[in-house]
Amino acid sequence: MSSANPEVQQKMPSKKGFELFDFLYKYGTIITILALIVIFSITNPAFMDGANIVNILRSISIVTIIAVGITISLSVDGFDLSVGSTVSLTNAVVISMFVWFSQNIFVALLVAIGAALVVGAFNSFMIVKVRIPDMLMTLATMFIIQGIALTYTKGATVSQNMVMPDGTFSTGSIPEVFSKIGQVPWIIIIMIVVVLIVHIFLNYTKHGRYMYVIGGNKEAARLSGIPVNKYKVTAYLMSAAFAAIGGIVLASRVMTAEINSGAPYLMDAVAAAFIGSSVLGAGKPNAFGTFVGAVLIGILQNGLVMMSVPYYAMDIVKGTVLALALALTYYKKK
């Protein structure tokens, strides 16, 4: 009796004052995107060029793919911080398969995705069985995998015709068809397909519903007979798999494997996923929102570069946008 009543009473009177806030919460991201487009178009007419729009989409595609993976881990109330390192690892693996071992494209992709799934399995085991909190565990994994990727490449950039430790040149080459993955239009198509598949998975299948249920109330989910651990494992495997796809696309785009190439994508992807949680008032992590979040970040970055803001100041802006998005989410939760 007493447990339900006070809350209802509290909600009623405060509702009106919060309408503006609710509006901001739902449409804030989209309004910001539109406002940015207007501002950037005025200051630089080239911004709305078809070429530039394609450019923006291309630049956000890798971030979006990784962010979609994070979104899945967020949907079960987890958090995968190791995706950045997983991107570096798969990038190194796939390029090295071509350059060092002269493998064909299928082997290269399979080994890269396999490596990522091992990372996902390791994360799930430590989180589900050993019960280490998600963020802490994946932080540890982030270091481990970063180190493994570095060790694997011996701290060097992997590229065609590179000098091997024994002084010879590597003989393998990257196939022509692989380089297509990272080029327009394929890179954009891959991004759109990933977003669509995950959006459908989370919203229109039984498994997606289970994941949201687990994210909403783990104990209630367990007592409803949902195999919580199985779905948590699935979420981390999927998160790693999308990181692998991100790493492969990145590899194809730059055709080399640089040291820690995935690291810069982590923060952008986390930001996109968190910004996405509030898009259109979803109130939970979702693939479409994540895409919108990535678009916001992409437009900001592109527009600011056009306005000659130096690259080293970019993180200030991105961090601020993330802080604002988080402020919206958590202020509402209160």
């Binding site: 009796m1 007493s2 339900a4 299948t205 039984k206 249920v213 909403g216 109330n217 367990r222 007592l223």
Partner: protein, 500 residues
């Protein structure tokens, strides 16, 4: 040098409930005073008033005939009134040492302009206090390494740092083992010798008769009587606790009880439940009666695979089953409506429809696990109308519904899942009278359809009203199996307070 404490005409109201109505209570230092009453009688509320947890009560409090004002915990502590709550973990900081925890109030309130902590002083003083009550715990140990009983003693020690005239112990023995209880009693007797007045809340009558000098009985937020333990008996106290209650409307349940569906033998969980035997037939409503902390929830969770089972066997339709987790339990045809509704039963952020289908989404998916939204909508709207769930639409988030309607959602989930055995743990907790009646009606309907029902509750009137047979639980064990038709509230209370 006896100090007398009197509380006069204390009343307090919470939204919709009058928790205390004109209650008077008095005790003195150097004695142990038992406070007893059924669940919801107002014992804890009265003691919270005394310890300053509430400020909006009416009435007066006197110490040695002088009126005092207690409106905050600090007021109470300054007057030498200390309380040890039942949930010891909320009062202690696990990663600080025993000494730091005991001296916490001093460190927080009495440091003044001092900036540095004197470790020597803290540990010396804490050790001295522990020694004074003959408790052998190192002051340098971390609280997180202590057992529950030791934690309790640390809290008692903490309340002795400052002057302590009255010490309130709120159900201190509920989580303790027999030997730990004896140790606690030794401390209580020690403190009594030192002229501290102990107020002892407990559900366990034999204990109260062992340790206390006086007893005050409360019922429905009112004072019933105060007697000397030496001049009363356990049976008389039980009578005082009961009195008349409002007759509630229970549906008549006349179902032929079929063959045995659920059979449990020698069930042990990892803590509370010991050697539990029970069975339930088709169409039978089996009550699990017991007071708070008797182990009812633990039993329900162990049956449903939600808690680890150490030993014992569970048979369904005569076939031995292994239930390792709830998802296996659901496959075996069990359903469980947990007590902590908001925490365990419903998904507050999700819609009514998503809640109703959460336990049986398999029925609502098509090829490739795609959800059948049309069917989900149909079935959930049907369930909403047949259960009379008051909600604007099936898309409404469950957090916006009232407690009773939330409970109906939690139950409706399992009606759609269509189980064989339904386990209800305190299903009427926090539910208004109208919804209560609906829930009883629902349970009786389930029985008519030949389902087995396990109904765990500390509300004995409900147990008597709805069940066919009752297991009375005391301390994690079956104290007595009774036929509902031939028993009464007095008997249930007698066995659930440890009577033999």
């Amino acid at each position: 040098m006896t100090t007398v404490l009197e509380m006069k005409n204390i009343s307090i109201e919470f939204p919709g409930v009058k928790a205390l109505n004109d209650v008077s209570f008095s005790t003195a230092t150097g004695s142990t005073h038992a406070l007893i009453g059924a669940n919801g009688a107002g014992k804890s509320t009265l003691m919270k008033v005394l310890s300053g947890a509430y400020h909006h009560y009416t009435g007066e409090i006197y110490i040695d005939g002088k009126q005092v004002s207690i409106r905050s915990p600090k007021d109470a502590q300054n007057l030498g009134i200390q309380i040890v709550y039942q949930e010891v973990d909320t009062a202690l900081i696990p990663y600080l040492t025993v000494g730091e925890n005991i001296m916490l109030n001093e460190t927080v309130n009495d440091m003044g302009k001092k900036q540095f902590i004197s470790w020597k002083h803290i540990h010396e003083k804490a050790t001295a206090i522990l020694e004074s009550i003959h408790v052998n715990i190192s002051s340098k140990k971390l609280v997180s390494e202590l057992t529950l009983a030791e934690k309790q003693m640390v809290i008692i020690a903490r309340s002795l740092v400052k002057q302590c005239k009255f010490l309130i112990l709120d159900e201190p023995t509920a989580p303790l083992s027999h030997s730990e209880t004896n140790e606690l009693f030794r401390i209580v007797r020690d403190l009594k010798e030192r002229n501290v007045g102990i107020i002892f809340i407990s559900h366990r009558l034999p204990e109260l008769f062992e340790i206390c000098d006086d007893i005050t009985v409360m019922k429905n937020g009112e004072f019933v009587c105060k007697e000397k333990i030496a001049e009363t008996s356990q049976n008389r106290v039980v009578e005082y606790m009961l009195g008349e209650k409002l007759e509630e409307q229970f549906p008549k349940n006349q179902v032929e009880i079929g063959s045995t569906v659920l059979e449990v033998k020698g069930l042990y969980d990892t803590g509370m439940i010991k050697n539990f035997d029970m069975h339930a037939g088709a169409g039978e409503i089996v009550g699990i009666a017991g007071l708070v902390g008797a182990g009812k929830s633990e039993l329900c969770k162990a049956l449903f695979g939600a808690a680890k089972v150490k030993a014992g066997e569970i048979k369904i339709h005569g076939k031995k089953v292994k239930i390792k987790d709830p998802s296996q339990a659901v496959k075996q045809g069990l359903a469980f409506v947990p007590e902590e509704r908001r925490k365990e039963g419903i998904l507050v952020q999700e819609s009514v429809a998503a809640n109703l289908t959460a336990a049986s989404l398999g029925k609502f998916s098509k090829a490739l696990s795609f959800l059948d939204f049309k069917r989900e909508k149909e079935v959930s709207s049907q369930m909403i109308s047949s259960l009379g769930i008051k909600t604007p639409s099936q898309e409404t988030r469950v957090q916006n519904l009232s407690g009773g309607n939330q409970q109906k959602v939690a139950i409706g989930k399992w009606l759609i899942a269509d189980a064989e055995v339904y386990i209800f743990d305190e299903p009427t907790k926090g539910v208004d009278v109208g919804a209560k009646k609906d829930i009883f009606e629902l349970i009786s309907q389930l029985a008519k359809r030949g389902k087995s029902i396990i109904y765990a509750s500390c509300e004995f009137s409900e147990i008597l009203g709805i069940t066919d047979r009752v297991y009375v639980v005391y301390d994690g064990q079956v104290a007595k199996e009774l036929d509902t038709n031939t028993t009464n509230e007095e008997e249930l209370l007698f066995y659930s307070t440890g009577g033999k």
